[in-house]
Amino acid sequence: MLSTRVIACLDVHNGRTVKGINFINLKDAGDPVEQAKQYSTIGADEICFLDISATYEKRRAMFNVISKTAETCFVPLTVGGGVNDLSDFRDLLNSGADKVSINSSAVYNPKLIKQSSDKFGNQCVVLAIDAIENISMPSGYEVTTHGGRKKTNIDALKWAKQGVRNGAGEILLTSMKSDGTKKGYNLKLTNLISKNVPIPVIASGGAGSPKDMVEVVLKAGASAVLAASIFHYGIHTIKSVKNEMSKNGIFVRDCEN
């Protein structure tokens, strides 16, 4: 039976892992290469690097970090941030990334999803959607870019469906309102997108406890759950999250394998 994935996310800035409340007030939480290795050893099903300031500062993702991580980390590795064109895609994949997530660049260059999925396959194109409540949107959610700093006037559900048509293999859905709050995922948003697209949806933003992970799977149909800070500071471990999920009838991969 297919496991529900638990994904550890590392927000990376200048080669160091950081995570702040709503992406502001960043705290240094260590070396991403070591952390990724640690996570894969203790049972994370995937690792995700997001270069959170990359677009804003027009920096490229750190190929060195990826390449070092890929040498010792034998679980899928997703990298996002600062991906502007096909050559960025190729550079990240060649460094050792398995999937590339695109967000702002897909909004400003919608052809990038199609071009990249045609070129590298839809399995490696992750459409990252940072959504925020907006009652004037048909679905009630609007797509934002640049770590939530810019609004786009694009409806989140429409954007998700368009992403699927253009060849995205997966959606990484972050609720910007919940992100960093540790008060739980946005169930309504996750359910809305998950029910209406045929590809896997990763819930992101707001995980504060293993119970939040259980809830977003059982109540909102998430295919995978992603979290950053709750793992970094040792508040909860991958194992405690998986135990809680398993106790609630969600099939997960054994941390020992």
């Binding site: 899928p76 070129k119 399995q123 295919s223 394998n257």
Partner: protein
């Protein structure tokens, strides 16, 4: 022993190379590993690995762009009986054809073709079955095989694919996975094996599989 990972401009070559290098190092095996598309090196190799991510037609085209490679592979694997591992699209290429985008011929080493997975219904939690089949899943073994040594049916491997093998020839299926339907996960015959999952991304279980394949003497 000399292992060649075939580079034809497709695939997550680095990940495959890293995972094989790790296995060789950890298990202190006497293997050299080369990543190349040079026909001479491929024909000198003892063992061959064909990775593949992306679409079937793109991977086939990538192979065909290296002049003489497809013909050489068939000669090395079928006639010279070199040990071979096809991973994901590399596995899909081993059969007759795939219907991804358009009908594209494979190597004809094994019987059958790849068809898009169609899913109906919901899973045990009421969720729709999403395509691609993406994530960690178990294997059900059809028979005992050296490449499954020390691996149990409780262990999981990382899959990401939207097409599955259709074949009447069930003798060539070594293991299935289950995603609302039985999907061939390991296929093979004699000296050649293909896996739908990614052993290079399947953590400890993947490392066990790679080690088993490396020491397998068909």
């Amino acid at each position: 022993m000399n292992l060649v990972i075939i580079d034809y401009g497709s695939g997550n070559l680095r990940s495959v190379e890293n995972a094989f290098r790790n296995s060789v190092k950890i298990n202190k095996l006497n293997f050299t590993i080369q990543v190349t598309n040079e026909l001479e090196l491929i024909s000198k190799a003892d063992h061959l690995v064909l990775p593949g991510v992306g679409s079937f037609p793109d991977c086939k085209k990538g192979l065909e762009d290296v002049k003489g490679l497809v013909k050489l592979l068939t000669n090395e694997v079928i006639n010279k009986r070199k040990k071979f591992l096809g991973i994901c699209v590399g596995m899909q290429l081993m059969v007759d054809f795939s219907l991804e985008k358009q009908r594209t011929e494979g190597f004809f080493w094994l019987d059958g073709y790849f068809k898009k997975i169609v899913q109906k219904g919901v899973d045990y939690l009421g969720r729709d079955y999403k395509i691609p089949h993406m994530g960690w899943n178990n294997l059900q073994f059809e028979y005992k095989h050296p490449i499954l040594e020390n691996i149990t049916e409780n262990e999981q491997f990382y899959f990401v694919h939207s097409f599955a093998l259709e074949s009447k020839n069930t003798n060539q299926i070594i293991a299935y996975t289950n995603y609302n339907q039985k999907i061939p996960a390991i296929i093979g015959k004699d000296n050649y094996i293909g896996v739908q999952f990614h052993p290079e991304k399947s953590s400890n279980s993947g490392q066990k599989f790679i080690y088993n394949w490396l020491k397998w003497c068909p």
